[in-house]
């Protein structure tokens, strides 16, 4: 990479004249074949700057080159819907929620940076997803985080987890976005590769929708936000496109970006004011691959060209050369297309917010992306060749050798607790396990109240945000994933992730509407991983079709492995639902005494990948619970109708840890006990993880109406007990006081993390 004061800048003319000059494409992550392909597109060798653009845009992270052939199913199998205003391929999907409102939401990984530098890695993960939402024209209104770490008591987890949580707290709180939910899970498979998946949701009016398209030749390209520095050059794109360990990785490690949430807050307010003033023709955020990504995607999206002067980019480090500017992943930047007549007003608004803004180029009708440096042309490429037409690989996939053995290792063979004392101890052990323990240590570091529209947040099943104060319209969001289920059966595991998030959203009384996903997998170059990935994508696409909820966007994170050992396949699924009146939301807490507790759904003995097997035996084997999407759909209908009709006082979905854990959580959340009689075999009744189930509390006098509603939708229902008292009592087996439940539940994380 050349410095500006160095002679011999690599111009387009020079590239044409020196076709044989050796270039460091391999160091930048391009294969021999990909480099040849660039030469073929250009009809010459690329300049240094062009090589920089192609290397980041064709990275796995930006190009989806290994996943694209599979991800097509999300569109091909998408259920018919009128709710989708913008779908896959945009920065984030946009969904019509009625009353003229639209919401946009997306989940994205920041796994690799968060392992290298937990605090800044997680912080900039929040910043990046917020800009994706902002780029669609929406005001970001809430965030969530799905986190997975190695064993809670492992020394490195004590480095990584507090750093990640601290980074999310630092960035999200300072940015003023309520954190309304997420996940926290632990497994040895994430020890060298934590998963940090950040979700953001934004709200807009239909007419506010913005697209990443540079239209209108003559319009100006305005770079808004932070100055460009040498941050994370090749960071997200290169880090997330290679695994840790092995050889030659050292040079890629120190590439984590540094976040400034204050600048992001100004950028958000500034952009929203630019939108409101009608000044923005098209806009793109600068995330992975920075200026390279924004310019190529804007030009490709608009079917136009751009002429950009890289000298005009404001720098934090004057020594940066053009290739470095193109690859820099400096945070808190946006690129807007503005009509010439609006530039003055645009600059005024940016100045109001003390946000730097600079015209760096203009839209052309040439269909080429052209860039100059010190008056010399250094980039001249067809933008779509970098943005859309990257390499596509059909990676080989092979069922892992151990898959059959894993399936045959049925948990039925594991010793089970019998009798009251044994079952009681098993429940307390699960309740105290890091996976199921109270998450207050984490959530207390996040502001859930800012903006004043948070109706539900942890430990509720889903986050719920009010959108319209007058009508009570709102949106519910949940993310779920289960790596153990997905390891045993990636197809079913992905479907379980979707079904659980769908159920969680429904449990608040909302109607599930749309899906986002973050696919966390090992190396796509490993056929066993590719088999898992293909199965998970197929499972999710099929399940979305069955449930009638389309995938609106998402993210794939490959290379989640250290020293050749991949994580469990971990599809994390986010579901968004619309709540017609948030005042009628259901929470999980048991309230007034004397109300009937009902179990909805069918229970079978299903323990493969269960929390019980994990906590009691460290066991993962057998088959995950059966997926019944039709039952999920009917259960959701019961919950929505029950909430809307005022029949229910509380609802909680059943998932990890089965009925036992759900009842304990309901008691602790509401501060009231219950007495139940188990409907079948005690162990199965308490701990089975059969899907499509929920526990609900009927409002006094509504028990028969709830039962009728279940019958109408073909959902099995049984009255299992009644709320009240100061303990969780299971008839004939055991009783645990709320104090003892609370002690078991609440001490685990503080004991480990301080």
């Amino acid at each position: 990479m050349r410095r500006p004061d160095e002679p011999g800048l690599d111009t387009v003319a020079r590239a044409a004249a020196t076709p044989q000059r050796p270039q460091p494409y391999a160091e930048l992550g391009l294969t021999d074949g990909e480099y040849e392909r660039v030469r073929g597109i250009l009809g010459r060798r690329p300049t240094d700057a062009e090589l920089a653009i192609y290397s980041v845009m064709w990275s796995e992270h930006c190009s989806y080159k290994s996943s694209r052939v599979h991800l097509r199913q999300f569109a091909e199998k998408a259920p018919p819907t009128e709710a989708l205003l913008a779908g896959i391929g945009q920065n984030a999907g946009v969904v019509d929620i009625g009353q003229g409102y639209a919401v946009t939401f997306k989940i994205e990984s920041h796994n690799h940076p968060s392992y290298v530098e937990p605090f800044q890695g997680a912080a900039t993960g929040v910043g990046g997803i917020v800009r994706d939402i902002l780029a669609m024209g929406a005001r970001p209104v809430a965030v969530m985080d799905a986190l997975r770490f190695g064993p809670a008591d492992a020394p490195d987890t004590r480095r990584v987890l507090p750093g990640v949580v601290g980074g999310i707290s630092f960035y999200g709180n300072c940015l003023g976005l309520p954190n309304i939910g997420g996940e926290l899970a632990f497994d040895p498979c994430y020890a060298g590769n934590p998963l940090v998946n950040a979700l953001c949701v934004g709200v807009m009016r239909h007419s506010d929708l913005k697209l990443a398209a540079a239209t209108g030749p003559g319009n100006k390209v305005v770079l808004i936000g932070s100055r460009t520095g040498p941050d994370g050059i090749g960071g997200a794109s290169v880090l997330a496109s290679a695994s840790f360990g092995g050889t030659g990785e050292g040079a890629k490690r120190p590439s984590v970006q540094v976040g400034d949430p204050f600048m992001e807050k100004l950028l958000v307010e500034c952009c929203l004011q630019l939108y409101a003033a009608g000044l923005v023709v098209g806009i793109q955020d600068l995330g992975a691959a920075g200026v390279s990504c924004a310019t190529t995607e804007l030009a490709a999206g608009g079917g136009t060209g751009l002429r950009v002067s890289l000298d005009a980019v404001p720098l934090r480090d004057a020594a940066l050369g053009p290739a470095e500017i193109l690859m820099s992943e400096s945070q808190e930047r946006m690129m807007a297309i503005v009509e010439p007549a609006g530039v003055g007003r645009c600059m005024q608004i940016c100045a109001t917010w003390d946000v730097p803004a600079t015209v760096i180029g203009e839209v052309t009708g040439t269909g080429r992306l052209e860039m100059s440096w010190h008056g010399e042309q250094i980039v001249d490429i067809p933008p779509a060749s970098a943005a859309d037409d990257g390499p596509v690989y059909h990676r080989s996939a092979q069922r892992p050798a151990g898959q059959d053995k894993l399936a045959a290792d049925d948990p039925a063979a594991l010793p089970r607790p019998a009798g009251g004392p044994g079952l009681r101890a098993a429940l307390l052990a699960m309740l105290a396990s890091p996976d199921a323990a109270d998450k207050t240590w984490v959530t207390e570091q996040y502001d859930r109240y800012v903006r004043g529209d948070t109706v539900l947040a942890p430990p509720q099943d889903a986050g719920l945000i009010r959108v319209d104060e007058r009508t009570g319209l709102g949106v519910a969001l949940a993310t779920d994933g289960n790596g153990r289920y997905a390891l045993l059966d990636p197809y079913a595991g992905a479907q379980h992730g979707l079904a659980e998030a769908y159920r969680n959203v429904a449990a608040t009384g909302a109607r599930p509407l749309a899906v986002t996903n973050c696919m966390n997998f090992g190396s796509p170059e490993d056929p066993a991983v590719m088999w898992q990935f293909a199965a998970a994508v197929r499972g999710l696409a099929d399940a979305c079709a069955a449930l009638g909820v389309p995938v609106t966007g998402g993210n794939v994170s490959f290379y989640n492995q250290t020293c050749g050992v991949a994580i469990h396949p971990t599809p994390v699924i986010g579901v968004l639902g619309v709540h017609d009146d948030v005042r009628r939301r259901l929470s999980i807490g048991f309230g007034a005494a004397g109300a009937s507790v009902l179990l909805l759904g069918r229970t079978a003995a299903e323990f493969g990948g269960s929390l019980w097997a994990h906590v009691a035996h460290g066991h993962v084997g057998g088959r995950p619970p059966a997926v019944d999407l039709d039952a999920e759909r009917r259960l959701a209908a019961v919950l929505a109708a029950g909430a809307a009709g005022g029949l229910l006082a509380a609802a909680h979905d059943l998932s990890d840890g089965g009925l036992a854990l759900a009842l304990a959580e309901c008691c602790l959340a509401g501060g009231a006990g219950c007495a139940v009689t188990l409907p079948g075999d005690p162990f199965t009744s308490l701990f089975s993880e059969s899907a499509a189930r929920a526990v609900v509390v009927a409002r006094p006098g509504s028990e028969a109406a709830v039962t009728d509603l279940c019958a109408e939708h073909g959902i099995a229902v049984a009255v299992i007990g009644v709320t009240g008292g100061a303990s969780l009592e299971v008839a004939g087996l055991f009783s645990i006081s709320l104090d003892e439940l609370a002690a078991a539940h609440r001490q685990t994380l503080p004991a480990i993390f301080g």
Binding site: F262, M263, K265, D447, Y449
Partner: protein
Amino acid sequence: MTRVGVITFPGSLDDGDAARAVRRAGGEPVRLWHADHDLRGVDAVILPGGFSYGDYLRCGAIARFSPVMTELVSAARAGLPVLGICNGFQILCEAHLLPGALTRNAGLRFVSKDVRLRIENAGTPWTRQYAEGQEITVVLKSGQGGYVAGPAALAELGARGRVVARYAGGNPNGSAGDIAGICNQAGNVVGLMPHPEHAIDALTGPGTDGLGFFSSVLLSAARA
């Protein structure tokens, strides 16, 4: 209708919530911009929570030099009711309208939780709707909420009834004397670390206990 100004600094976050609380209490919120030398004739002013200037240098240290603060400081000295919430409290301390400072929480982590407060002084324009000794539940959310002041200043605050509220259910951040809020000598300027504006509706907060701060100032303005 009583007009209550809410100042927006760069990085203010709870300005919309403060304005909503004023409206909910029956007043008219008036948005004020940090860069304007103008209080627009309001009857009272709220400095809202947030991270003005990203907490750079020290919390509130830069916002205290915002143009609007010139007018605010002289109006406050002349008796205008002023409430600083969280970052607003920090700004009031930096502006020397209130004594002491807010420091890093004792646990060194951001703390966001519902807290119990005991109202110690129900005579200020922001607390007269409460009874002395009344306990209320509001929201605390801050990383630098630990109140500190010299021994003499603390003694004076206590002796002159200038502690407006103390934490009642355990000290969440290491504040001296469990102090959650204080006022100036005249009582018109109040700084409060927790957020009453997030406790105005049981749907979106822990209840409605916080509404009293806003209805108090409307009552005060009506009497004045």
